[in-house]
């Protein structure tokens, strides 16, 4: 069994490729054989700057590489998004409890992603895409700030063209050249005609997840079948430091993915 020190030690790994998704978001392809589950995250270190949690955004069944999609918001993410192919990055993980992949089998699925929240959900959608026969009807509802902020646009086009999935995209603001939807992501629930027996997977700003979960409950979805990813800031990733503690829960290892029946009360307390 590994010691705590070993579990906190990063491995220095080569970045094989980088891909710009939007003006402030970059995907790193990192060489790694470590298996992971959709919804889990790694702690990534930018040399001399610091470490932060970043979800897996790549295909869970493609061995040898990890993908991590990072939005630049501060010092560490600034350094990570500036990394060039051939540079090294510190990596430890995977950590946390991911999306309930076994429960998705045979079920209709609604995926609701806001902003960078599409990144932690991408492994789920890639898994569905690889094996459409195992799942029911899937609907992907994506919200972004502006058309320029929409992530993974070529994936969205491909998923939209596939018969396995219906893709709906909306933005908060746009100029007259945009021919898509403008409005909050929950407005997409109507055109998506959600089956109340579906399992829902939500990731994005907490306020968006709260509104989406409320509307899904009103459509008749079971609170135990609505899952959210609570991306609270964290330090150790292994339930030691308490940085990510939300009430009685250590989000880093009891989450980040939790059912709405658990998340609702935690998200209602303002000081948490």
């Amino acid at each position: 069994m590994s010691t705590t020190i070993e579990r906190l030690a990063a491995t220095w790994t080569r970045v094989a490729a980088t891909r710009r998704e939007t003006a402030d978001t970059v995907t790193l392809t990192i060489e790694s054989d470590q298996p992971f589950r959709p919804g889990q995250f790694d702690m990534l270190t930018a040399l001399g700057v610091g470490e932060c949690p970043v979800s897996h955004s790549g295909h869970p069944r493609i061995a040898g590489v990890h993908e991590h999609t990072i939005r630049r918001v501060g010092a560490v993410t600034n350094a990570l998004t500036a990394i060039k192919p051939g540079d090294t990055v510190g990596i430890r993980g995977p950590y946390g409890r991911g999306w309930p992949m076994e429960d998705l089998v045979g079920s209709d699925i609604v995926v609701i992603a806001g902003g960078i929240g599409l990144a932690p959900l991408r492994p789920v959608i890639l898994a569905l895409e690889s094996d459409p026969g195992s799942y029911g009807r899937a609907a992907l509802l994506v919200g972004a700030r502006t058309p320029e902020d929409i992530q993974f646009t070529s994936d969205l086009d491909r998923w939209n063209a596939s018969s396995a999935m219906d893709v709906f995209v909306t933005v908060d603001r746009a100029d007259e050249t945009w021919v898509g939807s403008v409005g909050v992501v929950t407005r997409l629930l109507d055109p998506a005609a959600i089956n109340p027996e579906s399992i829902a997977l939500l990731c994005g700003p907490e306020i968006m997840m709260r509104f989406a979960a409320t509307d899904l409950l009103a459509l008749g979805l079971d609170p135990d079948r609505i899952y959210v990813s609570l991306e609270r800031n964290m330090e150790c990733g292994i339930g030691l430091c308490g940085h990510c503690q939300l009430g009685p829960m250590f989000v880093c290892w009891q989450g980040p993915v939790v059912p709405w029946s658990v998340a609702a009360d935690l998200m209602r307390v303002p000081e948490l």
Binding site: G114, G115, I116, G143, A144, R145, D149, T170, D172, R173, A174, D175, E176, W178, V179, G180, S181, V182, G183, V184, T186, R187, D190, P191, G204, P205, I207, M208, F211
Partner: protein, 150 residues
Amino acid sequence: MRDAALADHAFLVGFEEEHLEKLGACVAAQSMWRPGESILLRGGVADVCHLLVEGTVAIEIRSPGTAPQIIQTLQGGDVLGWSWLFEPHLWTFDARAVSDTSAITLDAALLRSAIEDDPVFGAQLLKRMTKAIVNRLKATRLQVLDVYNH
């Protein structure tokens, strides 16, 4: 007269037969717009209410020197326009068809007098209008918070 298209419209689900007939008497036209066509212009007289049947409509705001910004898009099943309810009965935003769009167009003057004449009909219609307005207000608040930028 009962209008089958009215009875099927999402905005009027559960509306009583008798009230559907009253509303049927307010139908002014079945309207169609091509992509890019203007539907409402800010400052214009709000003399109609459109129940969108198909298509996408952009609600826009313009300020001098900048390109029009889309605040929200509406789809079939939505109601377009509520300025006809309140004086001075002038549109406050522009609306433009983004795709081929059709609507059942109601005459605002007839609607207003039907609301005055039959308070039960009026209450039923205004409840639906208020729900649509509140939903749109809720959505706008979220958009203004700019949640994806934090």
